[in-house]
């Protein structure tokens, strides 16, 4: 499994559509995944009062459209663009949603984004240093990028975005931190954690 495929963090809609929609040819994952930008675009373009529903709808459409892409091994020339595109599409859409709701929703959004960022960094470190993929149950509990966008949009429609963001931040934060600590300590006790001075920070600048 290439890194690009491992870093996607897809949710139930994508999973469903990848199983249901028939496709003989493996499609270009980058082109299909570009639809993930639809929710962000909707939230930017549609007037504030209808934005949550527009975002929810486009999250569903994007999730269904991106499904077949997961069958590709993501080893094409430009497929390395898929994970950063998904990160940006999701985080920016959540931020836009919070901004539309009101200034007091933005700190809550920051909290959730920080939790999601921790989770996504942990996915990378886990693969690099433990050779382990993220467990499926953990990925499913997180709902994936399109699942989270859908839930946030529905919460915003009900005027409950700020509490929803806070609750999600606390619950997911606890889940990820506990699973992380347990997993990493167990792996290091097993001797399964690789030490590689070269694989240090991406801030070692050679691209």
């Amino acid at each position: 499994m290439t890194q690009a495929l491992s870093y996607r963090d897809d949710g139930p809609l994508v999973e469903l559509s990848s199983r249901v929609l028939p496709s003989r040819q493996v499609p270009a994952p980058l082109a299909l995944t570009a639809v993930a930008l639809l929710p962000l675009l909707a939230a930017l373009v549609v007037p504030a009062s209808q934005a949550p529903m527009a975002l929810a709808l486009s999250a569903v459409v994007a999730g269904m459209a991106a499904g077949p892409a997961t069958r590709s091994p993501h080893d094409g020339r430009l497929d390395w663009l898929v994970p950063p595109l998904l990160r940006f599409a999701e985080y920016a859409a959540l931020l836009r949603l919070a901004v539309l709701q009101g200034a007091d929703a933005v700190p809550a959004c920051y909290a959730l984004l920080a939790v999601l960022a921790y989770h996504h960094y942990d996915t990378v470190y886990r693969l690099r240093d433990r050779g382990e993929q993220l467990p499926i149950w953990l990925q499913r509990l997180g709902l994936g990028w399109e699942g989270r966008l859908l839930v946030a949009a529905l919460a915003a429609q009900l005027g409950l975005l700020r509490p929803a963001l806070l609750v999600a931040a606390v619950l997911l934060g606890a889940l990820y931190v506990v699973e992380g600590v347990v997993g990493w300590v167990a792996a290091s006790r097993r001797g399964a954690v690789r030490v590689d001075p070269d694989s240090a920070e991406p801030d070692g600048v050679t691209p």
């Binding site: 931020l95 919070a98 700190p107 920080a114 470190y125 954690v193 001075p197 240090a200």
Partner: protein, 510 residues
């Protein structure tokens, strides 16, 4: 276990280069190596030709017993090495040229290197070009060796030189032994030929050809840089005198401290932190502090800095900036301490990385809270900074996965003198536009590497961790949260544009 190959002839007929006199006290390269390695290795094996055996017998002493074996040619050298590898225990095995003269810290370092697999000591390519010492030109992409040379193989465009020290990790010992036996049979079968066979180089044929075979059979071979230490591999008296001079003129302790700094640091780290943090690393080593203790302290201080930023007043911002700079310095020290003592821990690198992220995003939040207490709402800016920075990191994380096909060594038969082409897969003739894009990217890359100012500028554009913390520290102390985030957002957007465009051009040109 260490296997010393001492078949390179010196100036006299019965004396190998490994027994050249190095100044007083009857020191010889092989004698030095035996003494240096005795502490690290349970078993020392010396392989040499029958006519040199008498001279080398004298090197074995009661203090450092050595198993001396005679071999007639490179093929037998390799078979003896394969035997040694197969019988070696769980410790790493060193394959060293007996003429190598190097500081003890280098050998200790390569033995303590935590990377699994095969590593080879390398230095700048001028060591191989000047022709005075015995060094083999190599081509390496970042730290992976992609092409090696030997008496029978050449490398065009070498980027570094192999210095005659190879370490085989426990997991690779059987594989390397297998490759060694294959090379031995190729040598016996006479399938490997050379245009002119320099007797001096032929003595090292076993070591060099083994390296070529490993690289071509896709066994990952990584490089360990010499850094500032002294090295020589003399083959005559003049070379021996140069070796002595080099050993005395380089201060080993200073080189140890300097080698603690990682080679690919950013501009801010290199010029504003590492000059003194490496001495802090040495001080920490002398006090028996562990790298993990330093990592945790750095995290605590980072959280403290975030808390101070959250207070929001100017004195608190300045205090927070100072504390954050100390936290960042310690963040550099923990890695340098690990490199200085060779004590790499499994969780250490992970903790270092995770705490770096937590510190940074906590600090953004702290700045936003502080600004809010002053009536300025910068939460959207803080969140935007998180979004763009995470996107940039994700881009960098996903990119190496795409690069792998190009970074793999060029494979091919051992009989080919040089392997050209772009590695595995059918050769593709890129379209003109693609080729032009690739040439443009390569030209920009090469020209910016040549000029030092431009090289640093290229690194700075990437907005690495040192530069990010510098923006936060200086921005908070001198301006406040809004200034920090404004500069930050401009810089990270530039970095994203630069990274994406450069990599896009390179991908499209394949």
């Amino acid at each position: 276990m260490a296997v010393l190959l001492a078949a390179v002839p010196g100036e006299q007929p019965e004396a190998p280069a490994a027994t050249l006199a190095l100044g007083g006290a009857d020191a010889t390269p092989v004698g030095r190596l035996v003494e240096q390695l005795a502490g690290h290795s349970a078993e020392l094996i010396v392989l040499t030709r029958p006519r040199f055996a008498a001279r080398l017998d004298g090197e074995s002493s009661a203090a450092h017993p050595v198993c001396l074996r005679t071999t007639d040619d490179a093929a037998q050298d390799l078979e003896a090495a394969a035997e040694a590898l197969e019988s070696a225990g769980p410790a790493p095995v060193l394959l060293v040229g007996g003429e190598v003269v190097v500081h003890s810290a280098v050998l200790a370092g390569i033995l303590a290197d935590p990377r699994p697999g095969v590593t080879v000591l390398v230095g700048p390519s001028r060591f191989a070009q000047e022709g005075d010492d015995l060094a083999w030109p190599l081509r390496a992409a970042s730290t992976v060796v992609t092409a090696a040379s030997s008496p029978f193989h050449t490398v065009s465009d070498p980027t570094c030189a192999a210095l005659g020290v190879m370490r085989v990790g426990p997991a690779q010992q059987t594989a390397v032994a297998g490759v060694a036996r294959e090379v031995a049979s190729a040598l016996r079968a006479g399938t490997l030929t050379a245009e002119h066979v320099d007797a001096r180089l032929c003595g090292d044929a076993a070591w060099a050809t083994l390296l070529v075979a490993l690289v071509r059979s896709r066994v990952p071979v990584r490089t360990v840089p010499l850094r500032g230490f002294a090295w020589a591999r003399p083959t005559d008296r003049a070379g021996a005198e140069r070796a002595v001079a080099r050993l005395t003129e380089v201060d080993e302790e200073q080189a140890r401290v300097d080698a603690a700094v990682k080679p690919d640091d950013g501009w801010f780290g290199t010029f504003f932190v590492s000059p003194y943090s490496k001495y802090l690393a040495r001080a920490a080593a002398r006090r028996g502090l562990t790298p993990n203790a330093v990592t945790v302290t750095s995290m605590v201080l980072g959280a403290l800095a975030a808390g101070l930023f959250a207070v929001g007043s100017r004195p608190a911002l300045v205090a927070g900036a100072v504390v954050l700079h100390v936290a960042f310095t310690l963040d550099c020290v923990d890695g340098q301490l690990a490199r200085y003592t060779g004590a790499f821990s499994a969780l250490g690198a992970y903790l270092d990385a995770v705490f770096d992220r937590v510190k940074e995003y906590l600090v953004y939040a702290g700045l936003a809270v502080g600004a809010a207490s002053n009536g300025d709402d910068v939460w959207v800016l803080a969140a935007a900074a998180l979004v763009l920075q995470t996107t940039h990191h994700t881009l960098q994380f996903s990119w190496p996965g795409a690069e792998q096909p190009g970074v793999l060594p060029r494979t091919g038969p051992l009989t080919a003198v040089e392997i050209n082409g772009s590695g595995s897969g059918p050769a593709q003739t890129p379209s003109n536009r693609r080729a032009a894009a690739g040439r443009a990217a390569a030209f920009v890359s090469r020209s910016t590497e040549a000029v030092p100012g431009l090289r640093w500028a290229k690194r700075m554009v990437m907005f690495p961790i040192g530069e990010r913390f510098a923006v936060i520290t200086l921005g908070a102390a001198l301006g406040g949260a809004r200034v920090v985030f404004t500069v930050f957002l401009v810089w990270v957007s530039l970095a994203l544009a630069w990274s994406t465009t450069g990599r896009f051009l390179r991908s499209v040109s394949r």
